[in-house]
Amino acid sequence: MTFRKKTCGSSEHFVDRRAFLGAAGAFLGGAYGLNAFAQPALGQQLQRDQKRVLMIFLNGGMSQYESWDPKPGTTTGGPFQSIPTSIPGYRISELMPRMAACLHRHTAVIRSQLAVSDHNDATIFGGKPKTGPVRYPSLGSMIAKELASPNSQVPHHVMFTNYPGANYFENAGFLGATWNPINITPNGSRPVMPPFMFSEPILRLAPPANTLPPGLSDADHREREALRAELGSRFGVGRERDGVLLSHGGAYGRVRGLMESARLFDIGQESASMRARYGSTPFGQQMLVARRLIEAGVPYVRVNRGWWDHHGQNFEFHQEMVPELDHVMSVLLEDLQERGLLRNTLVATFSEMGRTPSINDNNGRDHFPRMSVTLSGCGVRPGVVYGSTNNDGTNIANNPVSLQQFFATVMRAVGIDHQKENLNTDGRPVPLTDYGTQPIAEVLA
């Protein structure tokens, strides 16, 4: 499919019938926002039309050997066995029996994903530089902007973390702060890099301060917001193109929506059986809240699970963490399927890197710029295993996938034109993915 040429270099002017109807439908959904599921017809409409992305980011770099690309019986393979999956001929680690059983239903696996070799946010920024005149946006911010409903009352970009390590925060760059995520981190602000020790993880399931402080009534708050909006609109006269001002005003404008969305972050709204189904780990509980957000129409939710950087005791840690991923991911896919949401929700697993074939003296694996990733649900051809590595996993055997290709594939899966251009701060067009980037056709439905 080719995309229509733009009239003036900016996609902002390009509106076709489908886009118009989509935006109108999204506006309705956004306007009704939190009450959508109290009105079944509207809820169903949302389920039909609105695409979302749920990103599971495995911070620190999960081992492909102990997950999607095992090599048992080789010098690099480690102690775990592989098991057959529901995709004929494809085997994964014995640590993932639940995903092995349901892999054919919703999921495509990419075993040849190129990555980086150190802990940084390069992958989530598609390999774009963090310095220089153009401040590129991250994947989540780009997708949130494309999928968000105008005037939506729900947040459009949320990121969860259950540990205080490196989380590689999303940033909207030149798209403007409107598209930055709400970061729900253990300490509520950007944490320090590891090593960083707590005796216990500090679980956080909701943004801090999303309720009114004691002593401030709802009426008072509304009056203050009305006054701020009035003053802001007067100040904004003649400054309609000032992106900073727009972001500032927009952020205030979303405060009520965020406060009213407090119940979305309230895991207590779920039944005990549903909470038990996701499990009691922080990752499981955050994933359940993430599902609630997806269900309510939040277009981009990222849940971080770390810390996979196992330079020591790699197998002990993976024995603990991979089964948790297996459990939570399989439950999430089941739950989304049962609710009719998987058709319109893309679930991705992604990271910054994989782990080395060699096993070091600490029984660990080090950094390796190759990894396996998955895409499940919306727009994905299930049961595809794309790319492969050689016998001992020391290199990619065929079909290497660049970060830009991965981004393009994610975007196309949810109906975004991956070559769409946004204007950066000095007015130059910047495509969502590099010009000429091709999504992986074999992975797309």
Partner: protein
């Protein structure tokens, strides 16, 4: 303007202490005085790959060793240039070996417990012993009549060494750590008189079982052996344990976590209890980045050997338990994954990453 840090840099460069000032290089520890044991000879056997477990053959210079390639090798320390007699045993790591008379029992990460005829190298029987979970270790009773195994189903199982029949399922270790992740049962060991069996898990808990009845008769916990941190890691565990020669004390070894993913800053730890009284008698952290993965009491002296299995230790250390201090070191240069002292305490074997050493010792 010259800042304070620049003055510091100039001073360090001038005095040659820059590396120390930057904290990038440790000051070497002073050498230990001569230890109580004299090393008469150090013998190295040829090995292929990593050796995870070893069991000496009494009265010989030989030992069976299990490795990461799934093979069992008969190491001959008296003939270091000879290629070991090796056979395929498991499809994954050989995680434990126990010798019961002429029968060798191997445990594997492939979930299997296998009995071998040591004379013919033939498989006698093969059992999926722990609910398709990893088997972490195996031990034989002093009289060779029983074999114990531990696996990640968190059950310690007693087997008749001859018939392979299950004698007792010893259930008592928690299946989950307090943070609800699955736990791991790392090790087991019989007391010298064969009356007791101890098993140790990831939380640093050791349970003592009465062999005859299969009843739990003691339980100790070494809390420092496990940490759960904000990065979502549980770490450590009781990696090995040993009864004192009189059976009154139980030594648990492992690690006090530092940075849980890199092991940096961690200390190897020996923790000893009077298990009947549930009372700690020794707490011996050692400032080496790594784990103690193996431990053994000296049969006659108040000494304890511990092998450092990961990090920068790469040596066997000998503790004098009266002095509560390390009194001798046996460098290996590679991480050590198992040690074994023979009954007469005149030969110590250490195996690990691509290495197998035997020291002939005298007092």
């Amino acid at each position: 303007m010259i800042t304070r840090s620049l003055w510091t840099l100039i001073l360090c460069l001038a005095t040659g202490t820059f590396a120390f000032a930057q904290g990038k290089e440790k000051k070497p520890a002073p050498p230990l005085p001569p230890g109580p044991l004299t090393v008469k000879a150090t013998q190295e056997a040829k090995v292929s790959g990593d050796i995870l477990c070893v069991v000496p053959i009494p009265g010989t210079g030989k030992a069976y060793a299990g490795g990461s390639k799934g093979k069992i090798s008969l190491l001959d320390f008296d003939n270091p240039k000879s290629t070991p007699d090796t056979w395929d045993a498991h499809v994954s790591y050989v995680s434990g070996l126990a010798l019961a008379g002429k029968v060798l029992v191997s445990a594997g990460s492939d979930h299997k417990l296998i009995w071998w005829n040591t004379e013919t190298k033939e498989k006698i029987r093969e059992i999926v012993a722990h609910d398709k979970k990893w088997i972490r270790g195996v031990a034989s009773s002093p009289d060779g009549k029983l074999v114990a195994s531990v696996g990640d189903d968190m059950v310690c199982r007693l087997w008749d060494a001859g018939s392979g029949k299950r004698v007792h399922d010893l259930v008592g270790h928690d299946k989950l750590i307090p943070q609800t992740f699955v736990s791991k049962l790392y090790c087991c060991r019989f007391s010298a008189d064969g009356k007791y069996l101890a098993s140790g898990d990831q939380t640093g808990t050791a349970i003592v079982w009465e062999v005859a009845s299969g009843k739990q008769v003691g339980k100790v916990r070494a809390p420092h052996l496990m940490q759960f941190d904000g990065n979502g890691h549980s770490y450590g565990g009781c990696r090995a344990l040993a009864f004192s020669p009189d059976g009154s004390h139980l030594a648990l070894v492992g690690n006090i976590a530092g940075d849980t993913s890199t092991i940096l800053g961690s200390k190897a730890l020996v923790h000893i209890f009077d298990w009947k009284a549930d009372k700690e008698t020794h707490y011996l952290p050692v400032k080496i980045n790594g784990f103690f993965e193996s431990v053994q009491y000296h049969p006659k002296e108040p000494w304890l050997f511990a092998g450092c299995g990961a990090g920068d230790g790469k040596k066997v250390v000998l503790f004098d338990l009266d002095k509560k201090a390390i009194v001798q070191e046996f460098p290996v240069g590679r991480p050590i994954l198992d040690i074994a002292l023979n009954a007469s305490a005149d030969a110590l074997v250490a195996v690990g990453r691509t290495k197998a050493l035997r020291w002939q010792l005298s007092k």
